[in-house]
Amino acid sequence: MNLHLLVIAPVLTAIAILFFNQLKQVRLIALCGAIIQFTLSILLLNSFCAERALGNNAPMVFYSSLEWFTPLGIAFTTGVDGISVSMILLSAFVVLAGVLVSWKMEKMSREFFFLLILLSAGAYGFFISLDLFTLFFFLEVAVIPKFLLIGIWGSGKKEYSAMKLALMLMAGSAFVFLGLLGLYFSTNIGNGQHTFDFIAISRTSVPLNTQLIFFPIAFIGFGIFGALFPFHTWVPDGHSSAPTAASMFLAGISMKLGGYGCLRVATYLMPEAAHVYAPYIILLATIAIIYGAFATMMQTDLKYINAYSSVSHCGFVLLGIGMLNETAIAGAVMQMISHGLMTALFFAAIGMIYERTHTRLVAQLGGLLKVMPFISTIFIISGLCSLGLPGFSGFVAEMTVFMGSWQHPEMLYRIATILSCASIVVTAVYILRAAGKSIMGPIVNEQHLTLSDATWNEKSAAVLLLSGIVVIGIAPFWLNELISPDVNGLMINIGRTLLP
């Protein structure tokens, strides 16, 4: 399968959108584009599985390389493995749901859908890139549209949040770029030429001194995207000010760019340094998990609740990566996908509630189950998934991370695992409290009685995301089968311990 289609399709959709002005035409094109993306990603999954079933055990399937800036060792190299295929699937789900949820975006609809689809192009490009420069290019493509999306269509202190998000993520990219330069100059392909090629770098053993300098830089850079404590502060502001679809995209895909980069670039390419710095990563991840959970308890705004809980949940991703063993890393990948779907659903539900009641404060809501049963149900379901109820994807992912982390006998790792496990109780407290106050109970505001339930587009978005969550929750083995051979492949590199 030609992977370039995954980038070309959204770009063409975005360009097509520019030629129309009316909301009805624009959203139709955006929906068609999102459906095409969705179909492509399902096709990709299908052909990827077929390829693997045929016994193609190459680390990267559908490999192709186009010349770009040859003197600098930059090529447009693409390829996927199980991890990136699952990420691409996640993106397709979230983008389609995002388009459906923004069905009634009347303010500057053309620009809105243009930027939203452009963002998805950045995400797909990031996941298929096998060249560090193009990977970085797509990482940055996925930043600036968010600035405009939040700043123009957002709510609350949107300009502040948009600027904060853009600057923090750009600082993250600056770190990432420094890290990539360090890797670039440690390669040698003859004549003093260097290369950004991912596979070539993974085959060279980067000198330990270089790794020790550039691993933290690259990891922090990607970590800023993935809400690494203490660089997580853009998350609550950014998520809560963004319009619904942008929040879904931010939490569902954007933060996963960071996790994926931490795993694929920082840890995989500089494994020896990863072992040196692993205790610090685990320390920071544990702080993020606990801090995120407790900070959520204090929130009164539904979007802030979900944003802080995202900090906590993304902590599990980094915890899994920091554990550096196969089970935990598989768990981290699962957690990325599970959290992506779950948080997108959560934001979608909050967005629907906000659109009808014009408030997101828990205190002003109540008894919504009586007036809008569908929205309330998906709200509760996503909450239950968030607190790790068996049967949903969150349970599977977090369980795998814990199983992986318990394999380390050292005291620090044990404490970190226990504390992270304990945070689930805190999660249960804030989720159940928020759901109880805003969904159950008596109706607080009389005006809410007249509100309507979800429309067809909102229902289909929710069902789409929900199906993903439930399928992973009930039948985790297919996801496991998809990613575990490639996690296994990653471990060949990551398993390398310190050079003598």
């Binding site: 040859t70 003197p71 940055e140 600035f147 405009l148 600056a174």
Partner: protein, 470 residues
């Protein structure tokens, strides 16, 4: 002989022809018919650009005083392109100006000077070229004849350039004293690194620093940009800077190759200060021309980072970046020029709510600013990152880290203008602006350049193959 002469000097000759035509026009014109020749001059400049691309030959004339090769011709073509864009953009400004032919005469003589400077193989020709390119600029800065700020700009420009020329001359004479020659190839052979030679080199460096407005020699920049007419400010910040930067790279890499230790340190220090101070001052500006002035100072800092690499990648990155910089900065200046010449508004606050009334202009300004900031998918992203990559080849990651962090800072002030246009509310936004054909062509060239240059790896490879390192 005569063929070789024409081939090598074709850029200069065709400019001279156009200059003489303009003189004739000026003599024959009366005030009423001045509008008609605007089409003609733009067509002439377009022909000038096209002619520049044919028959690339390398060689030298006048005993090596004048030299030309494919790289130099490419650089001249880039300058010609910028000149054409500026001439198209200047149309709303010159259309009603009494002395429009003089405007073009001065502009073209300045470019002619730059061409001589680029081709010079001798310090004297270099100096003459430099003066020919600078003095008309002072007159141009003063071209808003009834604005006192404009005279102030002209005065500042001539004073500062006189000062820098004096330093440059001092460096040249000391260089002559220690090496016994003014020819570039001879100087290269005679350089021993003696203290007096280092001193002479530093003087030359300072002369360049003035023209490039490198901190701490940048004080004239913002005032001159603010007072000068917008097309003039665009010319100063783009064409003039690009020309000097082209020469600067060539001179450092070929003539002063053996002094790499000296100029590396100079570049390192000045780059850090230029980027930092340019950024810090740009944050506080309210006038959009002053803002662009400081942001262009910061951009020069990035060019210095690229130059400091000293490899073939460095020179390629500098040329590639400057090509992109011409598109992006002229795109920004083009919009500012249209707004300023039609409404007279130049404050950033005036741009609040600009998107509501002028969506097309807002997008053009946004894309140009994104390109200046280095945000993909615009070309500026590639230009800037290649500069940083080239700079990192020396292994000095501290410099790259400082530059990368400053990229984030610069993001803030570029995004501030985007925020003003798209997000801020304004009760009296700038009204809907309709503008004529010429500036639209210029803006289209800029936008197409910004969107396509970055993706064209072949162009970069072409530049790379022409470039030389140390």
């Amino acid at each position: 002989m005569i063929n070789e002469f024409i081939d090598l000097m074709k850029h200069e000759l065709i400019l001279c022809v156009i200059l003489f035509l303009l003189l004739l026009i000026k003599i024959g014109s009366n005030d009423e018919n001045s509008g008609r020749w605007h089409v003609m001059i733009n067509i002439l400049l377009f022909i000038n650009l096209i002619v520049g691309f044919c028959c690339n030959v390398s060689g030298e004339l006048f005993n090596g005083m004048f030299q030309s090769n494919e790289l130099i011709q490419l650089e001249k073509n880039i300058l010609n392109l910028g000149l054409l864009i500026i001439s198209l953009q200047a149309h709303p400004y010159t259309r009603n100006h009494r002395h429009a032919p003089e405007f073009y005469i001065l502009l073209l003589s300045s470019v002619l000077g730059m061409f001589f400077m680029l081709s010079s193989g001798h310090l004297l020709l270099f100096y003459i070229g430099l003066e020919l390119s600078t003095i008309p600029l002072a007159a141009l800065a003063n071209f808003n004849l009834n604005k006192s700020a404009s005279s102030e700009a002209g005065m500042k420009m001539i004073m500062s350039s006189a000062f820098s020329s004096a330093l440059l001359l001092m460096g040249i004479s000391m260089m002559y004293g220690t090496t016994g020659s003014l020819s570039f190839s001879e100087i290269t052979l005679q350089l021993t690194g003696a203290p007096l030679q280092v001193f002479a080199f530093v003087m030359l460096f300072v002369g360049f620093a003035f023209k490039l407005s490198i901190v701490p020699f940048h004080f004239w920049t913002a005032d001159v940009y603010e007072g000068a007419p917008v097309p003039m400010a665009a010319f100063l910040s783009v064409i003039s800077k690009s020309a000097i930067a082209f020469v600067f790279v060539t001179v450092l890499y070929t003539v002063f190759e053996s002094m790499v230790n000296v100029w590396y340190i100079l570049l390192f220090i000045t780059a850090v200060f230029t980027i930092g101070i340019g950024n810090l001052f740009a944050i506080r500006q309210q006038n959009i021309k002053r803002f662009l002035a400081f942001s262009s100072i910061a951009q020069v800092g990035f060019i210095l980072v690229g130059i400091s690499g000293g490899s073939q990648e460095s020179e390629a990155a500098v040329i590639y970046f400057l090509l992109i910089y011409i598109f992006s900065n002229l795109g920004a200046f083009g919009v500012v020029n249209i707004v300023s010449s039609i409404t007279g508004k130049e404050s950033i606050n005036d741009y609040k709510g600009f998107y509501k009334t002028n969506p097309a202009l807002s997008w053009i300004l946004t894309i140009s600013l994104f390109s200046l900031a280095g945000i993909p998918p615009t070309a500026g992203f590639f230009g800037k990152l290649f500069l940083l990559t080239a700079g990192a080849s020396t292994g000095n990651y501290l410099l790259i880290a400082i530059a990368a962090i400053n990229m984030v800072v610069s993001m803030y002030y570029y995004l501030r203008i985007v925020k003003a246009m798209f997000m801020d509310a304004n009760e009296h936004p700038i009204q809907k602006i309709s503008f004529s054909l010429f500036p639209s062509i210029a803006l289209i060239i800029c936008i197409v350049g910004i969107l396509l240059t970055g993706f064209s790896g072949d162009l970069y490879t072409y530049i790379y193959e022409l470039s030389i390192g140390i």
